[in-house]
């Protein structure tokens, strides 16, 4: 599947296109198929996202997982600071990245 990611303009936070708006959670990301360029152009023009781009991902029973480790780290947070990730209470969350 192809999903969209970028950063919030004001805060810089990593966001994912959920079909309606930009979510902080990669599990909300939807397959944009062939519409990536159209959505990116529209959303960046409205300043709802910054520096956005399309990436490959897979969806399984555990949810959406970006294909490349760089985007998995973006999705969760730094592997060396579990306390600063989106799942600070889950000590095994980093396993999803690797």
């Amino acid at each position: 599947m192809k999903i969209l990611t970028g950063n919030d303009l004001k805060t810089g936070a990593v966001t994912w296109w959920d079909g309606v708006q930009w979510s902080l959670h990669v599990e909300d990301a939807v397959d944009v198929g062939e519409h990536a360029d159209t959505i990116l152009a529209r959303e960046q023009a409205t300043r709802r996202v910054n520096a956005a781009y399309a990436i490959e991902a897979v969806k399984d029973e555990d949810g959406v997982r970006p294909a490349h480790i760089k985007d998995r780290i973006r999705a969760l947070g730094p592997t060396v600071r579990p306390d600063l990730t989106l799942k600070p209470a889950d000590p095994a969350a980093g396993n999803w990245v690797i």
Binding site: K10, T11, A51, V80
Partner: protein, 542 residues
């Protein structure tokens, strides 16, 4: 320490307000990201993996206590409670909001700091010897000359859009503690037999994808022509540097392609021309700057005795302290490399404490090192135990300077959008694995980069590690034999790379080869140079 004059302060204040307006226009949609990006980069604001990242300049690594405390305040108020000291004597914050950036710059300006020229194709922060003004082996304190370069290069209109970024270092000792020959321009202040000061120029060094050691293109430039000669070096580069290819745009490529002698000849031509224009700052300005780097009021008649009865304190003295030029004083390094920790990271509380301790024990002065540690340059030996106790209580008394646990590491793929592999977890694992052997191994400089840009200085590590992306999987190349300093050399790749656990095993194996072959007081690098790569390769690859 240098104090801003009215002109310096006005420049920085004006830049804050200019950037505040630029941010407002970006947030309101009057300018696009393509238009805004070069403006934010000129103020040190990057967009990294998780958020905006702000890189704050620490000129030649020198900070007052109040400045250090401000860095802690920013970590708390605007970031997530910590900062990351970098491999070029700066500090970075990883979780900055764009809307906060102007207020951060205003807070920095209130203590004579800024983030100007910490990014972009301009002359970056000039680095220097972290022990400047404290050690006996320097011919003069190099920082006034670094400050003169800062003033000359800040907002220099001709050098705001160079072919690529440009890094300078200034030292004044035979012992190079600033990796001077791995800079675009390295300057070594020297004194001739007549007692006059001059500058030796090394041009065209650097790391990155094409590492090169800077050759000396002129052994003596009169000190009152140092800026003019620097301008000549930059002009030739600005004119002929490769703007058509980002990967060939650094000055090292120009010097290499022209040849050192031809580049030097062209610089001489430009230098002769510039001398007729009298662009050198007046000597009175240099004297004004030098007066602000005068020695602090050292006491006389102090004892050199130290009570070493606490074994942990004694270990720390031996590992982290350096003799001072004045009796009764010592230079103490605060390691930001606890076993298993993140190299260069410090919490807001730790940063504030270091500011307090600098004020209390080191004439209100501290230094950031390119090895991502902090130095208190002028500590009375009589105060050293009290200082150490406070550092120890704050987790800042790791005794490992220049040992295998004192690892230089870039932020890597955990934070950096350019990285191909994570650096920090590898550093943490090596630090933990070899903590028990570190003292026996002795001096061993290990440096890790998460990509070919080499922010972790892997080319200059006795052991270097380069993280690469191998079909979407992190892979680590091992290098041996790099060295910075007077005997600068570049590391050589041992062979095929390793996964994360494999590279830790390979490093341990390399240290084992060293310990088995060490003669006398040889350091790792000495043994490597004597026995060569073959025994290491045989042990690592079998």
């Amino acid at each position: 320490m240098y104090k801003y004059d009215t002109y310096d302060q006005q420049q920085v204040n004006a830049r804050v307000e200019e950037f505040r307006d630029q941010v407002r226009r970006r947030l309101e949609g009057h300018i696009t990201e393509d238009q805004f990006k070069p403006l934010r980069l000129m103020n040190g604001l990057y967009l990294q993996l998780h958020a905006y990242m702000l890189r704050v300049a620490v000129p030649y690594g020198t900070l007052s206590g109040a400045q250090m405390r401000m860095l802690g305040h920013i970590a708390d108020k605007y970031d997530r409670g910590y900062g990351h000291f970098t491999t070029r004597q700066n500090i970075q914050y990883n979780w900055i909001k764009l809307e906060d950036a102007p207020d951060i710059l205003a807070d920095l300006a209130s203590v004579e700091m800024h983030a100007i020229q910490t990014s972009g194709n301009c002359i970056r922060n000039t680095t220097s010897d972290q022990y400047a003004g404290a050690v006996a082996d320097e011919v003069v304190d190099p920082r006034p000359y670094a400050e003169l370069i800062r003033q000359w290069s800040t907002f220099h209109p001709e050098f705001s859009f160079l072919p690529r970024k440009f890094k300078m270092a200034v030292i004044a000792s035979d012992t190079d503690r600033a990796a001077m020959r791995l800079h675009d321009i390295g300057i070594r202040i020297v004194r001739n037999e007549a007692g006059e000061l001059g500058a030796a120029f090394y041009v065209g060094g650097g790391m990155g994808r094409t590492p090169m050691i800077a050759p000396c293109i002129r052994e003596w430039v009169p000190i009152d022509q140092m800026i003019t000669y620097s301008e000549a070096c930059l002009r030739v580069y600005n004119r002929y540097g490769r703007r058509d290819n980002k990967y060939k745009a650094r000055i090292k490529i120009l010097v290499h392609e022209l040849g050192k002698d031809e580049y030097a000849r062209q610089v001489e031509e430009e230098f002769a021309h510039l001398l007729t224009l009298s662009i050198e700052p007046p000597l009175a300005e240099l004297e004004r700057i030098k007066a602000q780097f005068a020695d602090p009021p050292f006491e006389s008649g102090l004892s050199d005795d130290l009570d070493r009865s606490d074994p942990d304190f004694a270990l720390w003295i031996d590992a982290n302290c350096l003799p001072h030029k004045r009796p009764g004083y010592i230079a103490a390094t605060i390691s930001l490399k606890p076993v298993g920790g993140i190299p260069g990271d410090a919490s807001a509380d730790q940063i504030r404490l270091m500011g307090d301790l600098a004020e209390r024990y080191s004439f209100d002065e501290c230094r950031v090192t390119h090895a991502q540690n902090v130095v208190l340059p002028h500590v009375r030996k009589a105060d050293l135990f009290a200082l150490w106790q406070q550092l120890d209580a704050a987790g800042l008394a790791t005794a490992n300077l220049d040992q295998i646990g004192d690892i230089i590491a870039c932020p890597g793929l955990d934070y950096c959008s350019l990285a191909n592999a994570r650096s920090i977890p590898v550093a943490q694992k090596i630090s933990q694995r070899l903590a028990g052997k570190a003292r026996d191994i002795g001096e061993l400089k290990l440096k890790i980069s998460g990509c070919i840009n080499a922010c972790g200085h892997h080319h200059a590590g006795h052991i270097g590690i380069l993280g690469v992306d191998k079909k979407g999987v992190e892979n680590y190349q091992l290098l041996l034999g790099g060295c910075e300093g007077a005997d600068t050399s570049l590391g050589q790749i041992t062979g095929p790379g390793f996964d994360e656990d494999g590279i830790v095993d390979a490093v341990e194996t390399a240290t084992g080869v060293y310990l088995s072959n060490r003669q006398g007081t040889e350091r790792f690098i000495d043994t490597y140079r004597r026995i060569g790569m073959a025994p290491f390769k045989e042990a690592i690859y079998g």
